[in-house]
Amino acid sequence: MPGKLKVKIVAGRHLPVMDRASDLTDAFVEVKFGNTTFKTDVYLKSLNPQWNSEWFKFEVDDEDLQDEPLQITVLDHDTYSANDAIGKVYIDIDPLLYSEAATVISGWFPIYDTIHGIRGEINVVVKVDLFNDLNRFRQSSCGVKFFCTTSIPKCYRAVIIHGFVEELVVNEDPEYQWIDRIRTPRASNEARQRLISLMSGELQRKIGLKVLEMRGNAVVGYLQCFDLEGESGLVVRAIGTACTLDKLSSPAAFLPACNSPSKEMKESPLVHPPSHGCRSTHNSPIHTATGSRLTQNFSVSVPTLIYTGMGSGSAGKEGGPFKALLRQQTQSALEQREFPFFTLTAFPPGFLVHVGGVVSARSVKLLDRIHNPDEPETRDAWWAEIRQEIKSHAKALGCHAVVGYSESTSICEEVCILSASGTAAVLNPRFLQDGTVEGCLEQRLEENLSTRCGFCHIPYDELNMPFPAHLTYCYNCRKQKVPDVLFTTIDLPTDATVIGKGCLIQARLCRLKKKAQAEANATAISNLLPFMEYEVHTQLMNKLKLKGMNALFGLRIQITVGENMLMGLASATGVYLAALPTPGGIQIAGKTPNDGSYEQHISHMQKKINDTIAKNKELYEINPPEISEEIIGSPIPEPRQRSRLLRSQSESSDEVTELDLSHGKKDAFVLEIDDTDAMEDVHSLLTDVPPPSGFYSCNTEIMPGINNWTSEIQMFTSVRVIRLSSLNLTNQALNKNFNDLCENLLKSLYFKLRSMIPCCLCHVNFTVSLPEDELIQVTVTAVAITFDKNQALQTTKTSVEKSLQRASTDNEELLQFPLELCSDSLPSHPFPPVKATSVDYSSFADRCSSWIELIKLKAQTIRRGSIKTTVTVEKASPVGDGNFRNRSAPPCANSTVGVVKMTPLSFIPGAKITKYLGIINMFFIRETTSLREEGGVSGFLHAFIAEVFAMVRAHVAALGGNAVVSYIMKQCVFMENPNKNQAQCLINVSGDAVVFVRESDLEVVSSQQPTTNCQSSCTEGEVTT
């Protein structure tokens, strides 16, 4: 028996009045886990019942512990009729399953009802006694830690970064089952919530298994999403980066509490007793003839059947020894084709060698009911296809890996757009294989990591460039070539030299599309996509130039599909990288040179643009040092022609090249105004207003150029829905509406947060959806952080000065593959992100495999765990808990609610994260049939989001934490039917629960000290050599 779950129901408070006659409630509680249910006594006539129940004990498999949520239902006892449900609490007990996370879950949880919202609170204590399992073929993966954070968590050190893990599970959506016609909305919502909770648990467990197989102990950058495919079903998918992490405080490498002894198993694959079933032993989705991926075998449509126990659980066990054998045989081939993807966006110093550019791939699919989830022809194949494409793009850029990788979908009726994007990169192999402390140090010293500009250097061969680019020698080291602009999906590397500050840059685009059915619709969309992508990139490029900057970080392009339109929204943080050349200006060229007034108009526009650039340079403090031409050397391949951007290729004329490029030696970016469309575009460039003074914004973790954050943070979510006025809209009107919507939203945010000035909006995350024909919904989540203005100026200055002094070299070209490109298939886009290039796969696969083997070679062996009970259970509430309660307890002694901070960032300014308590992954549905009474759509959604925040905070507090980092609202699906006075909303959020301590409260020198010391000594070493 691998685990014993113990639950105690202590008390309730603020319960709703369930008995009108007495204005009181006779409440009792049902505690359910798996198929076992316990009940408390009925506490008569009270809104603040004190149950003080015994410990309810569930003896369960650890597999179930991972999959199942603990379900607590509060009911009102009724002698004569059925008991009325007050509400429910779902508790994910996963954090209790790893030894170093939380030891007890104890606290007040909001009682949630999908129709009424939060109705009072309940105090619950949950503990788990976990035994290590001798069974080596078990299906659970307890002990693997999950982090949403897309960098190595603060109090850990990465020993090995293994690589990409992914998984998806599918099921029927209860909302679309026949039974939904007869059951109440509440029952249907609860079935859905429960199913998604189960599927999430299962998904996490399966990912965990893969991690154990790779001999990792953690997943970093874990991103789980669900696709509501309507009639065709429900897909829950997740990606992440498997790592072996080592807690910084403890010198010895951490071993998971209950390791899967996967090593032995691999060595003797054929002796598996078949009765133990076959597990998924490969970690990449490859569709061979066996088609026996465990994920696909999950076919149980009724949720209650899934957890009936080990024996009959998932259908994956039917496989038998034959399949197992086949799988073993294909094993090595599978490993070779693993995707070298990393969901991380920030890396340990030295990890990133070169960055090639953004790679993205999209594909339009028609959804079909998932008749038989065992069929290999499913969602999995689609994603595999896209990942292949990404891989080939990366290869085309001379890169062997993709970092900052993410996947997303947009669904409208039966059409689905799958998107994946990342940044092609060359990584330092040493980090992927070995990493004892000594090794790290040694390596840093000997490798002479001058990464200050190294990551900007092109990884591809300049003679066989994958796309036309304008190369110059690096402005920092003058040795290597760099591109004129750099687009990436990752965060700015901490050691990169940036001049001035960064800013949020958005490209917004709408395209009307005819309503169509099925294939015609999908074709129409596929045809539109390349144009959209092209225009989005043009906009980004123009705006970047307008800001006087030369690189984009954190680029995220979202394409949303609706009934009659497509929306594109790209967000990124623009910066001026010292290593890249100064961007040229934007030149406007008119098409009708004879018209005098027109000419005047053009020159007026040109002046406006030039003024804007000058103003922006001042605003973002971009004053790069002047460097004389001789040092730089002349630009390499005919620059003018290459950097020219022509709006319409057919109309390009020779006149344009004759233009005097007034920006001197830098070549300008030419915009041809040949029709009103183009005019509109130029106008829209100028309509973006900079944030009011004292405000900065970015969509990356931190704002380049600001580094003295003060401790005040405010995380928020803002949602806006607009109704488009008429049906016969033009693209222009649509663009304008959309642009205004986003701009106004930003303006509102600046206004609302004005009391925090000087402050910066970080991690600004826009999500667009098209819930109905004429509706556009934009959801923004971000965090406002205050900073000290005076200090900021000083530090930027010094850092710039320092960077100028530094002359560094970068000879390192580790593991860079020579390029083998089919030069005929070069895409015509003049910028890094490429779509669809045909590449020689096999040669790449070969190289790749050798690389992976290199990684595997030195992988640490993991000791097998013996039976061991985690004895942390009886401890009092964690230290951190007490700490923060005391600290944050307000002077007003009455308050008992501890403050829980939430942030989409991976850190808390002015504080040190001392402990990660586990992942928070919650899914809620809220529905109402009295929309007007609840304050209309705004009132309804406002209350719901506030409730979601409250539930997240309550769960974190119950784990003993005082903050959620890397918080993300992954989904906010809102549907309304005002005529029926109804609305429904689904929200999915996740993050990492942590304990933090204010730096000012830390008496002991933080353990971070040695690291920084070491780093500085390293850099010194560099300079002297």
Binding site: P110, F716, L724, N737, K747, L941, H942, F949
Partner: protein, 357 residues
């Protein structure tokens, strides 16, 4: 392009004090936006009217959601939905329970029942306070009254405990509750010159000395009701006015003591019997509810007005009352010294407070 939905939810609930005040004052969103525009906020921040509208709506929605919790302030502290720093919570509560002087004047001493609520329209017209604000203030009075009505122990403490108000505001509420419970008449024209503060001061003195709780804090009763036994006993004081010898003796004692110390000595001497009779009769009549209600009218009529018409300075009133009350101890034939002290202790304080223009 119309905005269907527009919300902003912060992990820490944003509270804009200015908007909160506008909301409390009962302005509609449109009016509030207009007032904010007039305050010059657009120029200061460079925002547009649309931004202001959206911001105001958001705050109003938040306040609307908070209102339910403000009705039982301890709930605001324990609830989990809105994360609000304690100082802000205190501000929300304090401002919510704050009331307008003009409004409290209108309802002070009135029965806090539904019937009165219908009059809120009139009060609103009369005072210029929006009906919404009137309703909030009235409901606050009524809510506090209902909660503490049946409670034992100190009235102020009870209010503070259940509504988490500041000491000052809790005392004001104690006065309002006390007045409402005893239905003191405050609306007469004669009393128009008095402020709410004057009444609140008197109420506090009366709660301290005139209620059951005042005599014995262990008693199973409360601060709201006047001590019936005490009122009954005060009939005995009547002798001070009825017994001519006693009255003369009292007068001579007071006059002797104050001779040369009082600027208005002659007026005092001439009026002594009237004044004394007035004060004693007020005490003796308090057994009847009707007379209790008229307490303040009587005090003003029988004491404040005569003195004022003779232009007594406040210092003289103080001298007189001290002497008047102390001299009784020297009256041999008078047995109710303790009773007298309890009565005059309160009355002296009240009269001094009530004595102004």
């Amino acid at each position: 392009m119309t905005s269907e939905l527009d919300i902003f939810v912060g992990n820490t609930t944003l509270i804009d004090e200015d908007v909160y005040r506008l909301w409390l004052d009962g302005y509609s969103v449109t009016d509030a936006v207009a007032l904010r525009v007039r305050s010059g906020i657009l120029e200061q921040t460079g925002a547009t009217a649309a931004v202001l509208q959206s911001d105001t709506m958001d705050h109003y929605r938040t306040f609307h959601m908070l209102e339910r919790l403000l009705h039982a302030p301890p709930k605001l502290l324990h609830q989990l939905i809105f994360q609000i720093p304690p100082s802000r919570q205190a501000l929300l509560i304090e401002r919510y329970y704050a009331f307008d002087e003009a409004f409290v004047w209108e309802v002070l001493g009135k029965k806090l029942s539904k019937g009165t609520k219908k009059d809120l329209d009139d009060i609103s017209t009369k005072t210029g306070i929006t009906l919404k604000s009137c309703r909030r203030q009235f409901d606050n009075f009524k809510r506090v009254f209902k909660v503490v009505e049946e409670m034992r122990g100190s009235l102020v403490d009870n209010i503070q405990q259940h509504f988490l108000l500041s000491d000052r505001l809790a005392r004001d509420y104690a006065a309002i509750v006390f007045f409402a419970n005893n239905r003191f008449e405050t609306g007469k024209k004669k009393l128009q010159y008095l402020s709410f503060g004057d009444f609140a001061f008197c109420a506090e003195l009366m709660i301290q000395n005139g209620t059951l709780g005042a005599v014995d804090s262990q008693m199973d009763d409360m601060d709201m009701d006047l001590d019936k036994e005490f009122l009954q006993d005060m009939k005995e004081l009547k002798v001070l006015a009825a017994d001519k010898d006693l009255l003369d003796l009292h007068k001579s004692l007071v006059c002797t003591a104050l001779l040369g110390k009082l600027g208005v000595f002659s007026e005092m001497e001439a009026n002594f019997k009237n004044l004394s009779r007035g004060l004693v009769n007020v005490a003796a009549k308090l057994t009847h509810n009707k007379d209790v209600r008229d307490l303040f009218v009587d005090l003003v009529e029988k004491f404040v007005e005569p003195c004022r018409s003779d232009h007594w300075p406040l210092s003289d009133v103080r001298f007189f009352l001290n002497q008047y009350s102390a001299s009784v101890h020297s009256l041999d034939g008078f047995r109710h010294q303790a009773l007298w002290d309890r009565y005059m202790g309160t009355l002296r304080g009240c009269l001094l407070r009530l004595y102004h223009d």
